[in-house]
Symmetry: C2
Subunit: 295 residues, 2 copies
């Protein structure tokens, strides 16, 4: 196993423990809701956003014991968005991370409440653990996550996505959607991890540029995988963008140009890290991982 | 107009301005989502939770210019819960505050995202305005609101409520549900308003007791009104608890005993305020208002 693969595995195991600890026990009332929250969050996903937070924390000298709770908060926001996106009123999907989606395994009302409660829990985490040098920084972290999650961030991107089904979208409009839908939360993951250490304004600007490139690259690769990989490999329904006539990087640019774009974004992400003085090894490796992944 | 009615009207007008200012303009992208968020929040409701926050702020000497943003945050959480509760997968209601519900006026996916984005905006408000003496207190306020909203608070109460339809519930179980479903957020409103001023531990305990009584009284009166008032008076569908065989204080205790209980809770709420040194006039009047209201 490479050094990076070992690091990633250790981080994923750490996050599984942290998430299991921060979620209410399934024996606590209301049991069914707590059971469904644990079903949605645990034992699944690559934890890309937590990995980015932990890697960004290495740049600013943050202790992993602090970053892990900020990372968990971002992951909870991500999972809540998946649970709501999978609902019949949205993408109506039955499979996620190789398992039945929450509304299929439980019911729609429970899936709705799972998402709602996971969002609350994300902010509770940011407020109930010592994460940064001072309370003012931690309050700024609440601000970053709230903005990234809301109508000018992830939820807004989802609204633009819904409105775009069957619409002829320009490349700039597609980018605008993804900057909101996936980019905002990836940016929050990087910044929140970095805030747990000593973050200068110059470093924040570089990390922001890195995160923007990675966020777009992530989506470009997602579109390539959705067009080319199988449902079994992805653990979620493949080919659904094309089936719904959804505009993607592949449908707009073709697969070859989309692959080139992903490589350009990887180079830009690496370049953004060159100005930083802390350890950027993990962020570089994560950029490579995000571009080269096959699921 | 009585002095209290004038105060209430001034507070409601203040909250309408604050909420209109904190919601993104309907001209900002994504426009339809922002339009729906404004539709859900503005021009409706008694603003009971903001009134409680502003009244609690008077006890601890907080400036209304600070309390108003904490009050708005609580109201946004309340409104998001109404939007999600009205969805077909939950209570499936077509009328709210005298207007078509959000999923009827817009669509289900938009209503889902409106609720999600309003929750994010609530936490954004707590992090982006100067509300308390220091950042640590403000972070504690984030914690209070997150806990009150989550699976051990409002969302959890909603889950218990859903599970209880058609079930024979004991009085203690009904109370357990309401302490979560409505009580937690009413408690948060009082505490958040108080945190904007100088809040001692003793005062927090008294306010907590007041809030618990008011929260239950609010629900008892809601049940009485649902059983006896008309849809036109309420601005939402009346008689729906009985129609769904939902346990209520009226179905468990009878209307006469429910009315007595509301009066006892009012007396307890007043008694809790007796130990406080600040100005408790508005909190007393609000207790009376909550018990005597007819809509």
């Amino acid at each position: 196993m490479t050094d990076f693969a070992a690091w990633m595995q250790a981080c994923q195991a750490r996050m599984e423990r942290v998430l299991a600890d921060c979620l209410p026990a399934a024996t606590l009332a209301p049991q069914r809701l707590h059971e469904a929250m644990r079903y949605a969050v645990l034992d699944g996903g690559k934890r890309v956003r937590p990995l980015l937070a932990l890697a960004a924390g290495e740049v600013t000298g943050a202790a992993a014991e602090r970053v892990q709770h900020a990372a968990a908060a971002v992951e909870l926001i991500h999972v809540y968005s998946l649970v709501h996106d999978d609902l019949p009123a949205m993408d109506d999907d039955a499979l996620r991370r190789g398992k039945p989606t929450v509304h299929v395994e439980f019911d729609e009302a429970t899936a709705l409440l799972v998402g709602d409660a996971l969002q609350s829990l994300a902010f509770e985490l940011l407020a109930s653990h010592k994460l940064a040098a001072d309370a003012a920084t931690q309050l700024a972290m609440v601000h970053v996550l709230a903005q990234a999650s809301g109508s000018r961030g992830m939820a807004g991107g989802q609204a633009i996505d819904l409105a775009s089904v069957g619409q002829p979208l320009e490349l700039t409009e597609l980018e605008f959607m993804h900057i909101h839908k996936t980019g905002a939360l990836i940016r929050a993951a990087v910044l929140l991890g970095a805030h747990c250490g000593i973050l200068t304004e110059a470093a924040a600007t570089s990390l922001d540029r890195y995160a923007k490139c990675i966020g777009l690259a992530f989506q470009v690769v997602d579109d390539i995988l959705d067009a080319e990989a199988s449902t079994a490999t992805l653990g979620k329904t493949a080919g659904k963008d094309a089936a719904r006539n959804k505009p993607t990087y592949v449908s707009l640019l073709g697969a070859a140009r989309a692959r080139e774009l992903a490589q350009e974004l990887r180079a830009d992400a690496h370049a953004a890290l060159d100005t930083l003085s802390g350890s950027t090894t993990r962020l570089r490796q994560l950029a490579d991982f995000i571009i080269e992944r096959s699921y």
